[in-house]
């Protein structure tokens, strides 16, 4: 989401870009990393001073623990389990959300009936339903995938729903006049027009798929990063807790970068409109 809409080719794009290419690139990277570095330094300093190390560990200890985990190979089975759960949960949730959101977005009648139920359903705290999940999906990967998929579904569903409803009616009509059938209308008009919303939903869903899986693993599991973090937390191993969290962050960040790439490609057309300085 970082450089789509507002990097419009303003006044002097050539000059700007060549400048950026030579000196500004590493500088930009530095700027991007700066807050992270400051945060790490602050953490290192504050740990043991502002707050006990037992609660927040400290970066050096976390790095050390991470090294141990990977060197000993202890973490790989957890990574593998959680990774699978994340990927499946995310894909199922996105697919369901796109289909559901699209269907209700296209049909106001269905929407009027079902939308309140979807919303209400999401108000249910899933942790209160842990026994049901276990009965239905077991204590293996199934229940985590289900939980992550549900979290993802909701966000994608609502974004697609809103996106489809925001599509310009006149373009739709024009396409119908040109002879489009429903399938063609979907692929040529509704999906591209709703793409900004769909992408937003998919991005919002990334951290929530992680949360879903981790909550699931906290409740029941035999393997996975959530379990690893939970164990570390109950055995007073703060470095382990934060090592686990760092790995999750890496997951999220990589997924976010990938989604950003996809978004920039799909929404290329938006980056071109307009010109001139409107940013603060």
């Amino acid at each position: 989401m970082t450089d789509t809409a507002y990097d419009a080719p303003s006044g002097n794009p050539t000059a700007r870009r060549s400048l950026a290419a030579s000196a500004a690139k590493p500088l930009q990277w530095l700027l991007k990393l700066l807050p992270g570095i400051v945060l790490l330094l602050f953490w290192q300093w504050a740990s043991g001073r502002l707050i006990k190390e037992i609660y927040v560990s400290k970066p050096t200890a976390v790095a050390q623990r991470l090294y141990e985990l990977f060197a000993s190979g202890e973490i790989y089975p957890h990574l593998w389990t959680t990774g699978q759960e994340l990927v499946f949960g995310y894909i199922i949730g996105v697919a369901g959300g796109v289909i559901g959101g699209y269907a209700l977005g296209r049909s106001p009648r269905l929407a009027r009936i079902f939308e309140p139920y979807v919303m209400a359903f999401y108000g249910i705290p899933k942790i209160a339903l842990a026994p049901l999940f276990i009965i239905w999906f077991g204590i293996g990967m199934g229940s985590k995938i289900a939980l992550a998929a549900i979290m993802v579904f909701f966000l994608v569903f609502y974004n697609v729903f809103a996106g489809v409803r925001s599509v310009d009616r006149e373009l739709v009509n024009l396409t119908l006049i040109m002879g489009a059938n429903q399938r063609q209308l979907t692929s040529h008009v509704f999906l591209p027009a709703a793409a900004p919303y769909v992408m937003l939903g998919m991005r919002l869903a990334i951290p929530y798929s992680v949360i879903g899986v981790i909550v699931g693993e906290f409740t029941s599991s035999a393997q996975g990063l959530g379990l690893f973090i939970h164990e570390a937390s109950s055995t007073y191993d703060p470095a382990g807790v934060f090592a686990g969290i760092v790995i999750l962050l890496a997951f999220v960040t990589v997924a976010n970068v990938l989604a950003g790439r996809l978004e920039r490609r799909l929404l290329r057309w938006r980056a071109l409109s307009g010109a001139g300085p409107a940013d603060i």
Partner: protein, 263 residues
């Protein structure tokens, strides 16, 4: 009845008027026919309901009163047998110009090779060669409008509805495109209804000129233009009988000036 492509039968349209109780009456009992292969120009003051009328012909709007018939069938839903050039260009912003023009062919399942060739020739004929890869936001207003025209002409619909197609074009470009449109309709026998503000254009292109009045608009006149074809688009006054026809339309149109300064 057979040779009538479109019949407007006493159509009327009321729109809700925000802030007021009663509705705005836009069209009021307008009836006229459009024969196969004919060219009908619609002129009338701004806001009188010309675009509304075209929307009815395309099935985008069901008239409050009366009905539009297409080949004898009452239009009750979207009419996929017409081509529609809207007033705003309405290109798809997420498609390049070439993809925009290609879309109707794609929707109709035309083969890729033929598609490419037809798109190229359509873009060429509206003077947009070299801009295939541009997105609509990278085109000028007139270029967008020309793209929109190409998108409709490329699939050669039987009936073409055009809403001020040449309004945003300079005199030169406009003449060339008028001439092209005339050839197209003569060769392919296409029926065309087009809205314009330019009386010269209306007289030059049309077989009939429909003149609408101020809102609530009624049909002021439906004037046949009997100039021989092909007509010379580049020097209008060279066409024999042009001036008489022009004056006939202008007289009708002008009659509205009494109604108020600007309606």
């Amino acid at each position: 009845m057979h040779d009538r492509a479109l019949v407007f039968d006493g159509i009327g349209q009321d729109f809700p008027s925000p802030g007021q109780r009663n509705k705005v009456r836009v069209l009021d009992g307008i009836s006229f026919d459009v024969d196969h292969g004919k060219f009908v120009a619609v002129i009338g003051p701004s806001g009188c309901g010309k675009s509304t009328l075209l929307q009815m012909a395309a099935g985008l709007l069901i008239p409050t009163r009366g009905a539009v018939h297409h080949r004898g069938r009452k239009i009750g839903s979207i009419n996929t047998e017409v081509g529609f050039v809207p007033q705003q260009a309405q290109l798809f912003p997420w498609k390049t110009l070439a993809e925009n023009v290609e879309l109707p062919l794609l929707l109709r399942g035309v083969a890729a090779g033929e598609r490419r060739q037809r798109v190229a020739s359509a873009l060429n004929s509206v003077g947009l060669k070299g801009f295939e890869q541009h997105f609509p936001s990278q085109l000028s207003g007139g270029m967008q409008k020309r793209g929109s025209i190409a998108r409709t002409l490329v699939y050669r619909p039987d009936i073409i509805l055009m809403d001020e197609p040449f309004g945003a074009l300079d005199a030169q470009t406009r003449m060339v495109m008028q001439s092209d449109l005339q050839s197209l309709s003569m060769e392919a026998g296409a029926t065309v209804i087009f809205v314009t503000h330019d009386i010269t254009e209306a007289v030059l292109l049309a077989d009939h000129v429909v003149v609408l009045s101020q809102r609530p608009s009624r049909l002021l006149a439906n004037i046949p233009i009997d100039l021989p074809r092909p007509r010379n688009m580049f020097e209008p006054f060279r066409n024999p009988g042009f001036e008489a026809a022009y004056d006939a339309v202008w007289t009708e149109f002008r009659s509205q000036i009494d109604t108020g300064r600007v309606h």
